[in-house]
C-alpha cells in the first residue's frame, strides 16, 4: 500500500479552518430565536442605559436644562450620543467569551479526541473567532443602518474612509487580543477546577478599561493614562474617537504599535500556558 502524501501544514490548517467555520455557523443558527437573541440583541442594553444616565447628567450640568448646551470634560451630549452609537457597533465586534467552551472541554477530558488527530486544536478555536467576526460584521452593519435610519446625522458616521479603515483595523486586532486572552484563561482549566469567574473578571476589566461604561478620555487622568497603554482602550474607546474625528492618524499608529506588541505577547503567553497545561493533562478530566 502506498502512503498518501500529507499536504503542507499551512494548507491543511487553512482547509480545516474553512470547514470548521462552516460548522460553527450551522451551530449558531440551529435555534433561531436563540440566534436572534444571542447574536443580534446581545450587548444592546448597556449602551442604551448609559445614554439615559448621560442625558440626566448633562441636563443637570446645564443651567437651562438643555442637554445640548453643556460640555463635560470636552464632550458634548451630541458627541456622547455618537459614542454610544459607536459602542453598539464596536462591542458587537469585540470577541466575547461566550464563543468558547475550552475550559469545559478540558475539565471533562474531551479534548483528547482532538489531540490524537493530525490537526492543530488551536485552528478549531480560531475558526470560532473567524465565525464570530464574520457574523458580527454582518450584525454590526445592520445595527449601524438601523441607527442611521433612525437618527440620521446624529448617529456615528465615520469622518472619512481612512478613519473607517483605521477604526476597523484597531477593533479587529483588539478583538483578536481579547480572543487570545480568553483562550489563555480557559486553558487555566488544566490547573483550576472552574474558571468562569476569571473569565467574567476579564470581561469586566475589558469593558471598564476599554470605555464601555464611559469614554476613557472623559475619565480622570489617574485612570485614563494607564488605560491608554492597554489593548481594550485601543479596541473600544479609541476606534470610536477615530471614527468621530477626535483622534487622528498619529493616534492610530500609536494604537497599532501598542495592540501589535500586546497581541504578540498574548500569543506567546497562550502557547506557554497551553504547552504547560498539556504536559499535565491526563485525558480523564481534571
Amino acid at each position: 500500500m502506498s502512503a498518501v502524501p500529507l499536504k503542507p501544514v499551512a494548507t491543511r490548517d487553512f482547509a480545516l479552518l474553512g470547514k470548521a467555520v462552516g460548522y460553527e455557523f450551522r451551530k449558531r443558527i440551529q435555534f433561531r430565536t436563540g440566534f436572534f437573541v444571542r447574536e443580534v440583541l446581545n450587548g444592546v442594553v448597556q449602551p442604551l442605559v448609559m445614554l439615559f444616565v448621560y442625558a440626566a447628567l448633562y441636563k443637570s450640568a446645564s443651567s437651562s436644562g438643555d442637554v445640548g448646551e453643556a460640555a463635560l470634560r470636552n464632550w458634548t451630549f451630541d458627541e456622547i450620543l455618537k459614542y454610544v452609537g459607536g459602542l453598539l457597533i464596536v462591542m458587537k465586534l469585540t470577541f466575547s467569551n461566550r464563543g468558547l467552551d475550552l475550559s469545559t472541554e478540558i475539565f471533562e477530558g474531551r479534548i483528547t479526541k482532538y489531540l490524537t488527530m493530525p490537526v492543530r486544536y488551536f485552528v478549531l478555536l480560531q475558526a470560532r473567532f473567524a465565525q464570530f467576526t464574520m457574523m458580527q460584521v454582518m450584525v454590526a452593519s445592520l445595527v449601524w443602518c438601523i441607527g442611521y435610519g433612525a437618527v440620521g446625522d446624529r448617529w456615528l458616521v465615520p469622518v472619512s474612509w481612512t478613519a473607517a479603515g483605521q477604526g476597523v483595523t484597531l477593533v479587529l486586532l483588539g478583538s483578536y487580543c481579547a480572543f487570545l486572552l480568553y483562550v489563555t484563561i480557559n486553558a487555566l482549566a488544566f490547573w483550576l477546577d472552574v474558571v468562569w469567574s476569571l473569565l467574567v473578571m476579564v470581561s469586566f476589566v475589558i469593558s471598564f478599561a476599554g470605555g464601555a461604561l464611559m469614554p476613557v478620555s472623559q475619565m480622570p487622568s489617574w485612570a485614563a493614562t494607564p488605560f491608554e497603554y492597554l489593548f481594550p482602550y485601543w479596541a473600544i474607546s479609541a476606534p470610536i474617537e477615530i471614527l468621530m474625528g477626535r483622534l487622528g492618524t498619529d493616534a492610530f499608529l500609536r494604537g497599532l504599535l501598542i495592540v501589535g506588541v500586546q497581541l504578540v505577547a498574548l500569543d506567546l503567553l497562550r502557547r506557554f500556558v497551553w504547552r504547560r497545561g498539556l504536559a499535565r493533562y491526563v485525558g480523564a478530566g481534571m
Partner: protein, 283 residues
C-alpha cells in the same frame, strides 16, 4: 405543589421550607469546599463588579467640576443618595447570587429534561428547583455589600434621614428586595418554558437588571411607569433606596407593594401553566 406540603398549615409549611433551605445550605458549603480557588475567584469577581460601579459613578459625578452648576445630580439623586442606591443594588445582586444561582441553568435544564427529579418531589417545584444552589461566596459578597450599604447610610442618617425612620424602613426595604428578586427571576425564566434554549431568560434578566441598576428617574416617564407598575424592577433597588431616603410619593409608597403582590400572583400562575406543558423532552 406536592400533596404533602399542600396539606400543611402556614407555620408547618414555613418550617418545612426552612429545613429544605438548611439542607441546600449544607450541600452548598460541602460543594464549595471542593472548589476553594473558585470561592476566592467569585468573591473577587463580585467585588470587582461593585468597584467598577462605584468608580463609574464617582467619575460621572466628578465631571461636575466642569459643569456650569459645579455639582451634578442624576435626576435628583446626589452622590450621597447614589451611594445608598448602589448599596441597595449590591445587596439585591448578592441576595440573588446567594440563593438563586440555579436560574442560570434553567434553560439548559429544561432542554435536557432535568426538571423531572424536582417535579416528583413532595414540594413546590419552583422553590425546590431555584433555591437548590446555595452559594457561600454569594453570602460573603452579601456581607461586603451590606458593609457598603451601612457606610453609605452613615453619610445620610442624621443629616437627611432621621435614625428612627431607618429602623423600620431598612428591614422593609430588604424584604421588598428579596421578594422582588424571587418573582422577577421566575418572570425572566417564564419565556424559556415556551421558547426552549432561546436565551431569552438571560436577555430579559440582562435588560431589566441593567435598567434597575440605575435610578429609574433617569428614564422617560413612560419607561419609569413600566418598570414600576408593569414589570416591577423598581423593587430591586429604586423603591428600597427611595423608601429609606424618604424620596417616595405617598401614591407610589401605597400602590407599589400591591403591584408586587399582584405581580407575584400572576408570575406564579403562569409559571405553573408553563410547567404543565413541560414534558421532560423539550429540547
Amino acid at each position: 405543589m406536592g400533596d404533602e406540603v399542600k396539606g400543611m398549615g402556614l407555620w408547618s409549611r414555613l418550617g418545612w421550607g426552612l429545613r429544605v433551605l438548611r439542607a441546600y445550605g449544607r450541600i452548598g458549603w460541602v460543594r464549595k469546599s471542593q472548589f476553594r480557588w473558585e470561592f476566592v475567584n467569585q468573591v473577587v469577581m463580585d467585588v470587582m463588579f461593585y468597584v467598577s460601579f462605584i468608580l463609574t459613578f464617582k467619575m460621572l459625578y466628578g465631571l461636575g467640576a466642569d459643569g456650569e452648576s459645579g455639582a451634578l445630580s442624576l435626576a435628583g439623586w446626589s452622590y450621597a443618595h447614589m451611594k445608598v442606591y448602589l448599596g441597595m443594588a449590591f445587596v439585591s445582586d448578592a441576595l440573588m447570587m446567594t440563593f438563586l444561582g440555579q436560574q442560570w441553568h434553567f434553560g439548559a435544564d429544561l432542554k435536557n429534561g432535568a426538571l423531572d427529579s424536582f417535579r416528583v418531589r413532595p414540594g413546590p417545584t419552583a422553590f425546590l428547583y431555584f433555591f437548590q444552589r446555595f452559594s457561600p461566596e454569594g453570602l460573603t459578597n452579601l456581607a461586603i455589600a451590606a458593609g457598603w450599604l451601612v457606610y453609605a447610610l452613615s453619610g445620610v442618617v442624621g443629616a437627611e434621614v432621621p435614625p428612627l425612620r431607618l429602623v423600620w424602613t431598612l428591614p422593609l426595604a430588604i424584604v421588598v428586595i428579596a421578594w422582588t428578586q424571587v418573582f422577577m427571576m421566575m418572570a425572566y425564566n417564564l419565556v424559556e418554558l415556551w421558547l426552549t434554549h432561546s436565551d431569552l431568560g438571560h436577555l430579559t434578566w440582562n435588560l431589566f437588571s441593567s435598567m434597575g441598576e440605575r435610578p429609574l428617574d433617569v428614564y422617560p416617564s413612560g419607561i419609569q411607569r413600566f418598570l414600576t407598575f408593569i414589570v416591577p424592577v423598581a423593587g430591586l433597588a429604586w423603591f428600597p433606596a427611595a423608601l429609606v431616603l424618604g424620596k417616595l410619593s405617598p401614591t407610589v409608597a401605597v400602590v407599589f407593594p400591591l403591584v408586587l403582590l399582584a405581580f407575584a400572583w400572576l408570575v406564579a400562575r403562569v409559571f405553573r401553566a408553563g410547567l404543565r406543558r413541560y414534558d421532560s423532552a423539550m429540547g
